[in-house]
């Protein structure tokens, strides 16, 4: 490429850039390059782009409306995207909950078994035997604990 071609390109670069600036600022909507066919074609393209996709500006109201819709979508997607069961299974928090629930179930199963397997008192009982009373109290407390854990899980 010779020097005159470089110079010609440089002029075209600048003229097209200036023309684009004026179109974008809304200062002109007409072709400006007299006899330069190449530049006329490029200017036509800029005008065509500007007509089909004129510059837009978003005001505060539009931005806030779009933000509300974005927030709604993010909330919806957060609810929808639940991790697969195996991920939940290995999640440390889930493991803790599972362990607690397992412990409670085991104790709940164990206490009635202890009560059943306890030998009958030698004398007719006038009141609850001490061990049996403790077992029922433990059973009651475990019930409360189970309800508490269940409520926490629901949250």
């Amino acid at each position: 490429m010779d020097q005159s071609s470089d110079y010609s390109n440089l002029i075209q670069d600048n003229r097209l850039a200036d023309f684009t600036d004026r179109v974008m600022q809304g200062e002109t909507q007409q072709l400006e390059s007299g006899l330069d066919d190449e530049l006329i074609g490029l200017e036509k393209t800029i005008l065509r782009l500007n007509q089909a996709l004129p510059p837009v500006s978003l005001d505060d109201v539009a931005i806030k409306k779009m933000q509300v819709r974005l927030n709604a979508r993010m909330r919806r997607e957060t609810k929808e995207v639940r991790p697969p069961f195996w991920k939940r299974w290995f999640d440390p928090r889930s493991r803790l909950q599972l362990a607690a629930a397992g412990l409670v179930i085991a104790l709940v199963a164990l206490v009635p078994a202890l009560i059943i397997s306890e030998p009958p008192p030698p004398l007719p009982a006038t009141a609850l035997a001490p061990t049996r009373g403790i077992a029922i109290a433990v059973f009651f407390l475990l019930g409360i604990l189970l309800v508490f854990l269940w409520k926490r899980r629901k949250k």
Binding site: L10, L16, T20, L49, L53, M66, R73
Partner: protein, 184 residues
Amino acid sequence: MENASKQAFQNPSDATLIQQFKDGDGEAFTALYHRHLPSVYKRVRYVVPEGDVEDVTQEVFIAASRSLASFRGDSQFGTWLRTLTNYSVAKFYRMRGRKREPLLAPLLEASGKTEGVSQKTLEDRMIIQSALQKLPDNYREILLLRLAEDMQFNEIAGLLDQNIEATKSLFRRAVAALRNLMEE
């Protein structure tokens, strides 16, 4: 000095807001959203059919909120967001199978969501958007920076780390390539 610190407090930088977001401040993301939505929206609008613009714009910010915690600040946040926008647009066309043939999109469907825009303008937009998708990345990028985001040539030169003559030259070649594609 006092004014500068007051301004920094009232108008924190992207880096400050990102750090606040990483520290658990959700409002920091809202501030980033308000600051960058216009440029993302304008860029998306230039390359995606009108009816899908908000959807794709939302995709960009959802992706940003999910990966912002891993943003290390190697580039400017705006540049990172532009890359994310280009990725979301590419994903949009990949999912719709429209990348090669955007003109196959039903015009009536599009016109239903763009009241006040003539059929000819809608057709022209589709021709332009189809041609833009076929352009080399550097050509498409400079056209979007100047025409969609309305950045000045000196700003673009700074962003692309090149002199203004090279920037204007790239712009002219990009317009010429786009014109050829639009006339095909």
